[in-house]
Each structure stands twice: as C-alpha cells, then as structure tokens.
Amino acid sequence: MTRQKSFIQKIKGGSPLLIKGTLTFRVGFFTLLFLTILAVLEPYINNHLLKGHSSTEFGLFPKLLPPSFEHPLGTDHFGRDIFSLQLTGLKYSLIIGLLAGGIATLIAVIIATASGYLGGKVDRILNAMTNSVLVIPTLPIILAIAAYVRMNLLMMSFTLAAFSWPWPTRVIRAQILSLKERPYVDLAKVSGLNSFEIMFFEILPNLMPFIGVGFANAIIGAMIAETGLRLIGLGPGDIPSLGLLLFWSMGFGAIAQGYYQMVLAPAAFLISIFISLNLINVGLEEIFNPRLKKVTGL
C-alpha cells in the first residue's frame, strides 16, 4: 500500500491537476487529456452542432462548403460537417486504441509474469515467441483477417491486440527480471511470503509505471495498425475512426481536388495522439527510471 501511494505521489503533486513529473510527461499528458475530453464531449458537441443528427448522416448540409463560422472545416462531398466528423473519428480511434491496448497489455502482463516468475525454459520459449512476433511483419496478416472477417468494435480490438502484445511484454518482462533481484524481494521471501504474495504485493505495485509504459506502447502499436487498415478501407464501415475518415477523403480525391482540410484534419488529430502517447511513455520512464533522467536530460 505504501508503495502504491508513493507511485501516485510521484506523478501528482498536492492538487490533483498539478501534474509534476517532467516537462515531457506533462506536455504529453495534457495533450492526451485535452483530446480525451474532446472525445468524451463529442455527443454533446455534435448534438449541439447538428441538432440531433449523426455526424455521418449524408446530405445534412450542402456539399463541399468552404470553411466558415458554422462549419469550421467546411463540409465534405456527402454534405457532412467535417469538424463534427473529426470529433466522432477521434472518439472511435481512442476507444479502439484503448480497448486494443488494454487487451494487449493484459496479455503482456500475463505472459511477462509467467515468463519472469517461472523462468528457465518457460521464459526462454515465451521470450523467443515474443521476439518472433515482434520481428515478423504482422500488418499483412492483420489486413488479411480484416479483409475476410466481418468485424465489429470488439472483434477489431481483439485482432489488433493479438498482434500488439509483444511491445508491452518486452518492457514488462525486463522490469520483472530486474525487480526479482531486488533485496526487498529476498526479504519478503525470508519473512515467509509465498510467491503469489510476493508477485502481487511486492512486485506488482512497483511494476505499475512500467505497465503504464507498456500500455502506451500497445496503444501506439494498435492504433498504427488500425489506422493503416482503415486507410485502405477495411474494418467496420459503421465505425468511423480517423483512419476511415482518411480513406473517405482519399477515395474522393481530396488532395488532388484541393480539399486539403479533409486529409489534414484527421492526420493532425492522429499525429497529436501518437506524439502525446510517446511523450507520456518517455516521461514515465524518466520519472521511474532515474538512471534515464540523466540520459534524457529534459
């Protein structure tokens, strides 16, 4: 319990909104927080802007209006408000990213604890498996599955998770191996805790920040794959994530016809998600791996 407290204390200062940490972590955290709030508020904002209609509904407005006060990014070739579409896309991209990343992290924690704790042959085999999946180009396989199997949100998240667990697994396994050798684990053994208790009460609390790093990694991996497969039009057509918005714009020929905002907007949202996740990732390592703080120097 005391250790968990210190973990939270390390991230937060006195007030809950005053995030200490490094500059890297703060920039990433607040960017992601802002995007998440936008995504959470999406139903209300769109309800207000579209008066109860869905942002994907065709012909709500005249086609291809230029940006104006009512339509900050204009409307697209189906008469949809581009700004509202971005918010919906942001929401779905984040949901899929969080779901897939969460499942992948769960798989990673299970594999890494099994690998780190059982050690020996099990560890070697699991590690070889992790490295193989990491080395193999998996996108063609994901594309093939998405092309042949009818997908829904959950199915999609599981498919993405099935190929993005190796990143968090490596991070978490390395940390477990290092934590296992710490003196307080020996002390816990001497004081008669069984391996289950050691795993849950001694190692897991100290593992939390690295599970966080793994989670951020998994979300990045899953979202890169998700956007990639949506970019070529695969996946559920009724779940308009930012990748699918890009596909619609490209299919319309938005770049060639000069409607740049149709491509720029989803791309900019995606890039800010990726950057903020990476900053959180590096920031967490800086906070909890003080040896690295010297290295990153920010």
Binding site: P140, V149, L234, L298
Partner: protein, 338 residues
C-alpha cells in the same frame, strides 16, 4: 581461423532461423484457414454478386477443379501437408486471381526487387543518419542543440510512415508540384542502365523514402543518444580523455563501437515494424512494390496472392535478420574469440 565458438554461434542462428520460419509459416496457414468459407467459393460468390449472375451447375465442377488447383482438397491436415510441400519444396505459391493463371510467385518476383531496393536504401540511410546525429547530440549532452533536437525527435519518432507520406504527397507533389506523386519512374524513359532512367528512378523514390527516413532517423537518434551518454559515463572513457586522445579517436574507437553493437541488433529487431509501415507508403505512392500488390490483392479478395505476400514478407525479414546475425561477429570480437 573460424573458432569452435563461431561454428556453434552460426549453427544455432541458422537452426533458430529455420524453426522460426517453419513455425511462422504454419501459424499463418492455420490462421488463414480459421477464416470461414474457402477462398475459391468466396471469389465465385463475389463475381456472382458483382455481375449479378448465377453460375450453372456445370461450373460447379470447374470450381471443384479450381479447388484442387488451389490446394483446397481434403481435410485440413492434407491441405497443410500439400501446402508445406508446395511452399518449401516447389517454391510454388499457387495461381493468382489478379493475374490468373499466372502463379503468385511470378507476380511477387517482379515486385520484390522494387520493395527491397527502396526499403533497404531508405532504412540504411536513416540508420546511418540516426547513429551519426545521435552520437554528436549525445556528445553535446545538456546543450541547447541537444534539447531541441531531442525534443523534435521525441515528437517525430512515433508518427506512422504513411501519415508523413500523406503530408509529403500533399505538400510536395500537389501544392508545390516538385516531386511526382506515383510510380517508380517516368513513362517517357526506357528502363535500363542509362542516366535518364536512373535519375528518374531516384526522383520518384525521393518522397517514399523521405517518409521513412524523416521518421526512422529520429528513432535511431534517440536510442543512439542514450547509448552515447551511458558510454560517456564509463571510467575507461574518462581515462581515454585524461590520456589526451583526440576527440575523433574517442568518438570513433570508444563510442561508435559501443553504439554499433546494440544498434545492429536493434536494426534486426525493427525490420518487421519498418516493413509494416512501408507497405502502406508504397500503396500511397502506387510504387510497384509488394505493398501495393498486397493492397490490390486484398481489395480483389485474391487469397493466394495475399497469402503469398505474407509468406514472402516473413521470409524476407527473417532472412535479413539471419544475415545481420551472421555479420554480427565481424563487429563484435567477443563472439569471434575462442
């Protein structure tokens, strides 16, 4: 000459390579067979829907013949064995739908050199740039240049290649029409070993490779920088500086050597990830490589070609990994020594 340790090292690497290859191919086979329905029936259904026709009973017999051709006869174990025999012994990936009845391996063979050429050059350039820049930035750790470059790298390194490719197409091929937006060479030049063709080749490869180099280099920079800073803290480096060795010699002999080892392993580890992102870049630029073929095949539901591209990609990446593993002893004396 070649020590016992080297022989052991090499044979272990080759054995691991073969086992991984076999395992990956088997997993891919069963994974793809988990998909309900068989590819030939699906393809026929797609034709029926697209042209709204019903194929007569006679054609059903032809379909059965096609299934035999595609290795879809018998139970899954029979299919698996015939698949292994065809892929590993006959190097036959089956006929393609896209270009029937040409076999998939012919389609891929024409496109693979384009992909390997572009990807190989771009990856090597970004690796070298990243290592050189990372060493210099790490050497100047704590300076203004360091924090600016490092900050930019943190932002750039995790952007997927295809998103940057979209930006490059938009800005450099459309808004400022400086570079071509598609294909690998201009239609006016004749392919061959002449200056016009080669310059057209480089001209067309600029944007696709830039989308990889601009992102990958920053990734290599970050890891190189952290290795450099760790190395700089070592005692032997302090000693080298105290001895009064020149900066270049320290960088070259003491730091670069320590960087090359982990970064070579890193290169091997990240190849699969790079290929993933690169395929979509190829498709964005309609580059005549394997990635573009993959997207075409997926849109046409061409099962054999999709499977062929998956297997070829895995085979190529694993082989590149093996080559890196085998070159590794050249730069790491510890593996060589008796």
């Amino acid at each position: 000459m070649i020590s016992k340790r080297m022989i052991k090292y090499i044979s272990v690497k080759i054995l691991v390579y073969l086992v991984t290859l076999f395992a990956a191919f088997s997993v891919v086979f069963f994974f793809l067979r988990l998909i309900p329905g068989d590819p030939v029936s699906r393809f026929i259904r797609q034709i029926e829907q697209r042209y709204s026709i019903q194929l007569a009973q006679v054609t059903r017999e032809i379909i059965a013949e096609y299934k035999r051709k595609f290795g879809l006869e018998g139970d899954i174990l029979t299919q698996y064995i015939s698949y292994l025999r065809r892929v590993f012994l006959e190097f036959d990936l089956g006929p393609s739908f896209l270009n029937f009845p040409n076999p998939v391996q012919d389609l891929i063979a024409w496109r693979l050199p384009w992909s390997i050429g572009l990807l190989g050059v771009a990856t090597l350039i970004s690796w070298i740039i990243g290592i050189i820049a990372g060493t210099l930035v790490g050497w100047k750790r704590g300076s203004k240049v360091d924090s600016i470059v490092f900050g930019i790298s943190l932002c750039m390194s995790q952007i997927p290649f295809y998103l940057l490719a979209l930006f490059l197409v938009m800005f450099l091929a459309y808004i400022f029409a400086i570079f071509p937006s598609r294909w690998a060479f201009s239609p006016t030049v004749t392919p061959g070993f002449n200056l016009a063709f080669i310059s057209s080749l480089i001209y067309h490869a600029t944007l696709p490779s830039l989308s990889l180099i601009l992102i990958s280099s920053f990734g290599w920079l970050i890891s190189t920088r952290s290795i450099t800073i760790t190395t700089l803290g070592e005692d032997y480096l302090l000693f080298a500086q105290a001895k009064g060795l020149r900066k270049f010699r320290i960088l070259n002999r003491y730091i670069l050597r320590n960087i090359l080892l982990p970064q070579t392993t890193g290169l091997a580890m990240s190849l699969g990830f790079i290929v993933n992102g690169f395929y979509l870049v190829e498709w964005i630029f309609s580059y005549p490589g394997v990635g573009t073929l993959l997207v075409q095949a997926i849109n046409a539901l061409d099962y054999n070609t999709v499977q062929g591209v998956i297997l070829t990609s895995i085979f190529t990446v694993l082989t590149a990994n093996l080559i890196i593993d085998l070159v590794y002893p050249l730069i790491d004396p510890r593996v060589r020594s008796e």
